[in-house]
Symmetry: C2
Subunit: 449 residues, 2 copies
């Protein structure tokens, strides 16, 4: 049994929906179809979700919303017309879109979520109807009926663990089940959307709930590339990634799937594949718990900007039990998460995200380091990037670090810091942001060409 | 003005004392001479300090101490005879040695310290007399008279900061001042010895007190070697080291001077030189605050055994603000200092000294990590060594890391972890202990041959 999720660009037009139909038909194991709202048909187009945000804003500002309603309804109508669907589904969609403008504005913390979720919800209705009229025994299912029960946190819903037991029962149904992504229903019957990762989370939750053999996530790319295609010309796509490798790559700039979306699938030990709706015969990138066979040591190179380092020196620092912990405590009390902490003997660097380091917090940190911790020197270094060489099989091969460090030095890139722990899923270099792209290309050439 | 300190092997015999006399005479700036107790004359010999420990043990056990007293007195007598010293100094030394066996045993926490300190004290008297009879205007000075006032902690004396002002006045005297090392006097007039570093600490304190231009520490080697001579055949001695480089090297196995002994000199910004009594024309190793000129990037390679690593994995670890701090807190509550903490995204390794990780503490750490921190995996890796490539000028040169990592991989040495902070005084590799010597040789060959 497979759960299949389609993103907005896979559902933007009749042409795309035909591809989706063929994909679902091609494999009878594809029993659960999770859908996004219609995406852009071309670069100038508007996503339905963005149109819904505008509609919401005009409604709460008590402006005229007719144009917003018309545009949204017409968007679905265009698809329905092209697909020559039975008129009843559009009656339902139209009513739902208009009804939004009758909901209470005051004391309704779920109003925004309800507007937005309708984009996915209406699309699911339309697609279930399309499937039904084209040879698939399909039903639309609202998240409430599917059992996707979530916490009471508008725009930040969390799945309630007991939901999985309810969702599991769906596997007893015979039909292909079309579920709108991006939202669940609270115990008080409010529509509540997930934060980041949107429909991917729904797919992940359903896959974990029904204990799917595979969660297929259809996008518009042939999987995950081993380096950013904007920096490296025509990079390889990765055949197989472990969840841990995916996390490491996602940390430093890879954003095909948001890693929070992966948690339910990861916890449920469900393998995942990222495939291309426009090229479904391409094997895509599989995300698995453990590698199926010995791969090349490095699976990907990623890098992310926006880091700073707090560099601290104190003579005899390493004799002070609790020194490192107290430095981290200062940051924690200022609500700053630390990313890495490479240490020498009498010095340490604490790498943090720039965005967490406001001028006021920066001043406070330096003040406390100087006065409370009595350090000899404390300074902030800015404009740093984290560069990661990722691959679980690196630990089986001697010399990956040497190869990476040599590639960087051969290209005159100075390594500001290194952190490599025993797990060796990744080697992490801190470099100056100005040298980031050059560094990625140097490492890609070394490990993939 | 220079402070000169001689170690036990430089003071073991008349032959050695003649060298010492010539060294002091050769430079009229050598105004302060700090001395240890007589060391071994040959491999089978007993150090005076060890003889005093035996004497102390017999005395407190109320056994016959005559033989102990005789041996110690004879030891000084032999030197005095060879140097043909005036008999009065031996009268004084003899009386002092015998007097130890009249001191109260009960309620005397300073008894052990008083026994031990007499080794240095009597040697200083003898040496001052020898200097005087051989053309130097020298006086013996007890630490009480010198103003070396310390805290009331037997065998762990700490200098009281106001002492420095008293010590400073010594610079007004005309004579060469011979001061016994290793102990100070409490405000209640008790003899109290320093913990580790012994006479080196006294030299360092006097140098800081009189604001010496140089602290010369005479040993029996031509300075500090760039790698351990037991592992690398005939290594170079280092011309110049910064205090920070010295600390890094001392951390991982270099023990020419104990780093605690350096603190007063470091704080007083006094440059230090380690020289060889048996080869005084050799320039030795200077220890300075900042390098005088651009040196080669790497000054030394050191390594130390006896480390373990606590390896922790948890999916989404890096999203938890305070995770790292809480792990360190668990260790701190068990009174375990951490050495290094290289981090990936969802994993971290905490490197600790083996000796701090008792089986009970180990079990408690794993229990808390599993139950309190809910980690996915926690395990202890043993038999690790820390390997350090040290040099302040590394940061000016791209490619040192690459060179070091390549040397290791070319010799099939797997790098378990790396930590390199922004200060870049050192690059720290964690490797398996079984590969330590091979790793040192590989790095020495790369950077020094």
């Amino acid at each position: 049994m497979k759960v299949v999720k389609f993103g907005g660009s896979s559902l933007a037009s009749a042409t795309q929906l035909e591809k989706v139909l063929n994909i679902v038909k091609a494999d009878t194991d594809r029993k659960f179809v999770v859908v996004s709202a219609p995406g852009k048909r071309n670069a100038e187009d508007t996503k339905v979700t963005d149109a819904l945000i505008k509609y919401y804003k005009h409604y709460v500002a008590e402006k005229d919303v007719t144009k917003d309603q018309d545009w949204i309804i017409q968007r679905y109508q265009d698809i329905a017309d092209e697909l020559q669907l039975d008129g009843r589904v559009m009656e339902n969609i139209k009513a739902t879109v208009l009804e939004l403008a009758t909901l209470p504005i005051k004391d309704n913390p779920f109003l925004y979520d309800t507007f937005l979720a309708s984009g996915e919800d209406n699309n699911a209705k339309l697609i279930a109807q399309y499937f039904n009229e084209n040879g698939l025994n399909a039903i639309y299912m609202h998240p409430k009926d599917a059992g996707i029960t979530v916490t009471n946190e508008p725009s930040n819903a969390q799945i309630i663990p007991s939901s999985y037991d309810t969702i599991e029962k769906l596997s007893e149904l015979d039909e292909v089940i079309v579920i709108p992504g991006f939202f669940g229903v609270t115990q008080d019957n409010h529509i509540c959307t997930f934060s980041r990762g949107g429909s991917d989370i729904t797919g992940s939750i359903v896959a974990a709930g029904v204990k799917a053999d595979l969660y297929e996530n259809f996008t518009d790319v042939d999987g995950i590339f081993s380096a950013h295609p904007g920096i490296v010309h025509n990079p390889n796509s990765i055949k197989e990634l472990t969840y841990r490798e995916m996390r490491e790559l996602a940390y430093a700039g890879f954003t095909v799937l948001h890693d929070e979306a992966l948690i339910p699938a990861y916890r449920g030990r469900i393998p995942l594949v990222i495939k291309n709706t426009n090229n479904p015969s391409h094997p895509g990138t599989r995300i698995v718990l453990t590698h199926s066979n010995t791969q090349q040591p490095v699976v990907g190179i990623s890098a992310d900007d926006g880091f700073s380092s707090i560099n601290i020196s104190k003579y005899l620092m390493n004799r002070e039990i609790g020194f490192g912990r107290r430095v981290l405590q200062i940051l924690e009390e200022l609500n700053i998460g630390f990313e890495h902490m490479p240490t020498g003997i009498d010095d340490m660097s604490v790498v943090v995200r720039d965005r967490e380091l406001t001028p006021i917090k920066e001043e406070e940190i330096l003040r406390q380091l100087t006065h409370k911790m009595e350090v000899d020197k404390a300074e902030i270094e800015r404009d740093l990037s984290i560069l990661m060489v990722v691959g679980e099989h690196m630990k089986d091969q001697i010399g990956v670090t040497a190869k990476a460090a040599k590639a960087l030095s051969d290209n005159d890139i100075n390594i500001e810091m290194i952190s490599q722990g025993s797990s060796e899923v990744s080697i992490l270099f801190v470099i100056k942001t100005a040298q980031k792209n050059e560094a990625i290309r140097a490492l890609y050439t070394t490990f993939f060409e």
